[in-house]
């Protein structure tokens, strides 16, 4: 330490390290949250100057009230068919997640990540986009693929890294990719996709296209430099992009205060960049839909990006490698005041008279069967092999796709590997 000079008239400094309201052993406490009633937040015209949104970054756009009624100016007034479709997709994501989580526990794959409680931020937002808009997701938006009818069997094959895996077992489970479904390849390196989405959107603008991009990032990952590169580029070029921040309040064991949420909101980042910003109840599928549509309309009119904070809660552990009971109260998820996105949309459909318990039960059964059948199909093509060399893929594929053309050194290494495996089999 530098020799500290005598400073008799100055107080000693101390470091502030944020701590969450409650830790294991405490009761979960969300009383500090300021949650405005549904329908109470103003809806500016999508063509309004960005600054007219800047009070909205400190509140919460909400549509569904406690009784399940859609209220206020943000009600997207969706037809019952669309509402039922969003409900179904969210339910399917949850059943799928539970099933794959269990498969990992049974040793059929290495890893899994659920999106429980966060289904609306992927599913409802995707239904508010056009089918050919591009998305740059994180590992927690499997709901995008489901909302775009990506085949479940193929999703599972990716999770199993098996013969049917479209990306040939190259990536960890849940790191899907599908050009046909406007779903950019998931990176394990946080935040990288965010400025890439802006680049894609800039390209769409450069090319006189009409498609827009939608990017996702977690609350914790907004600390990465890439987040700020994305916002700056998006602002400078008024890129046709929606910048979603999924604030599920946790980043593995670190609460959102470690990402800067003690002093302001994530949506408030928009103010500094001069772009439009919205803060949205992420467990309210209608609010998510309405905000996404607002931002999409705005950016399709060449008025630039919108930063949307989707306020939600990570109900489960970070991944199959995580045990949240050692860093947050066990009852936290059940006390989360914004409820469950599936239950809330179901309640809304019931209140509209467009749904009933029998149909709900029938849908649950149907989705359970669909997922079970898909799993059977997927497992016919193998599961992850970790203790033998009976690989699901042709081993030679390891050297493919490094480059378009395989250079000499990879050809040599490929031959070496084939010989090695022959030796191992002997």
């Amino acid at each position: 330490m530098n020799d500290q000079p005598e400073r008799p008239n100055r107080p000693a400094l101390s470091l502030h390290v944020p701590e969450p309201e409650a830790r294991p052993g405490d009761e979960a406490d969300f009383s500090h949250l300021d949650i405005p009633p549904a329908g109470s937040v103003r809806r500016p015209d999508p063509h309004a100057p960005a600054r007219e949104t800047h009070d909205l970054v400190f509140t919460l756009v909400r549509v569904l009230d406690e009784e399940g009624k859609a209220v206020g100016p943000w009600d997207p007034k969706l037809d019952p068919e669309t509402l039922r479709r969003i409900l179904r997709d969210m339910m399917l994501v949850r059943v799928y997640d539970d099933r794959m989580y269990r498969a990992q526990r049974q040793g059929k794959t290495s890893f899994y990540m659920k999106s429980t409680g966060e289904e609306a931020v992927a599913v409802a937002a995707t239904h508010a986009l056009d089918r050919d808009d591009m998305t740059f997701p994180t590992y927690r938006q499997q709901g995008i693929l489901i909302a775009r009818d990506y085949p479940l069997v193929q999703m599972m094959c990716q999770v199993y890294s098996n013969r049917g895996d479209p990306i040939k077992g190259r990536q960890l489970p849940i790191m899907y990719a599908s050009k046909d479904h406007g779903f950019f390849t998931i990176s394990g390196n946080l935040a990288t996709q965010y400025p890439q989405a802006v680049g894609w959107a800039m390209a769409s603008a450069i090319s006189g296209d009409s498609r827009i991009a939608s990017a996702y990032i977690g609350d914790g990952s907004t600390a990465e430099g890439d987040f700020h590169a994305a916002c700056t580029f998006a602002a400078v070029y008024r890129a046709p992009v929606i910048l979603n921040i999924v604030n599920n309040q946790w980043a593995i064991s670190s609460f959102s205060g470690i990402a800067g949420a003690e002093l302001t909101t994530f949506a408030a980042r928009a103010v500094g960049y001069g772009i439009a910003g919205l803060r949205v109840d992420g467990n309210d599928a209608l609010a998510v839909y309405a905000a996404t549509r607002w931002a999409a309309d705005r950016t399709r009119a060449n008025l630039g990006p919108t930063l949307i904070e989707l306020f939600t809660y990570r109900v489960e552990g970070h991944s199959t490698s995580d045990d949240p009971s050692v860093y947050r109260p066990q009852d936290a998820a059940s006390k989360w005041p914004l409820g469950d996105p599936i239950r809330r949309l179901k309640q809304h459909l019931l209140a509209l008279g467009e749904w009933d318990e029998e149909r709900q039960a029938a849908l649950e059964t149907e989705l359970g069967e669909t997922v079970r059948a898909a799993q059977k199909q997927a497992e016919k093509q193998g599961t992850l092999v970790t203790s033998t060399i009976d690989f699901p893929q042709d081993v030679r594929t390891m050297f493919e796709d490094v480059f378009a053309e395989m250079p000499w050194h990879l050809k040599e290494q490929q031959a070496q590997m084939v010989a090695e495996l022959a030796a191992k089999r002997k």
């Binding site: 101390s14 290495s110 190259r170 990536q171 600390a223 430099g225 670190s254 390891m398 050297f399 030796a423």
Partner: protein
Amino acid sequence: MTVMNMIQALNSAHDVMMERDKRVVALGEDVGYFGGVFRVTEGLQRKYGASRAFDTPISENGIVAAAIGMAAYGLRPVAEIQFADYIYPAFDQLVSEAARVRYRTASEWSLPLTIRSPYGGGIFGGQTHSQSPEALFAHVAGLKTVIPSNPYDAKGLLIAAIEDDDPVLFFEPKRIYNGPFDGFFDRPVTPWAKHPQAEVPDGHYTVPIGKAAVVREGGDLTILAYGTMVHVVLATVAAEGVDAEVIDLRTILPVDIETIEASVRKTGRCVVVHEATRTGGFGAELSALVQERCFYHLEAPVQRATGFDTPYPHSLEWAYFPGPVRIGTAIRKALED
């Protein structure tokens, strides 16, 4: 003495140093309350307070830059990068800043900082939890790079790194945190408790940076390895029944050239082993050094057994990993030629 696995030994190194020296602070993603995703910093926040062991925002360049600033003040930060695969956002701060502050200030400033990071494969972590990027840093003038292979060395080297007045990159072979995996993936791993190097002194000691260890003496050939591969090499040597001299480098840079030279002059043959990709890997440097300095003692070309030049695959991990077959082939080639 206590029997420790590598995680406990690394934790003990932090504890010893934080106890002795209030300039030592630990920081990184999930490092504080939780104690790190591999639990290396467990209990430190409880014992030393949140201003000496704390969580950071998810920003690797922020972590390294802040550690540089703390070191410039005079602290001795020990920063964790959660996986070596996530160190790249910090590349500029490491390469352009940490590595050069001493040089560009003619030693007016030095940066006594340690960057710890779990590295390496064998855990089905796919391309972002498996990489071995040590050569990228060894290539940079001004960074020391250390890689332990057992609990005793891990603690002694980490203490030496914290006490070192220059930036040290400390890569931890996560595959052997809990036991010395030997590359035979279809056999159970013996726990550290059965290994002599798991006897770890409870207090302060150092293992010097820049000193390799001869972990097996032999006359047929010299094998250079570090980290997990030390154990894979030893198991392969046993399986092949060759009388190899196995050197655990322990420090990549500055490498212990005397120990290497003495051994290769004796055996006349050399195999270099690492998990990292082959082209431009640290094995290339080792091979060049051996060739430059021991050419007239060599009876065969230096062989390399390494990872392949592809991104780290998920499902084909055991075809990718440089295990006993690849190393055995290299050994036989070095002996035949």
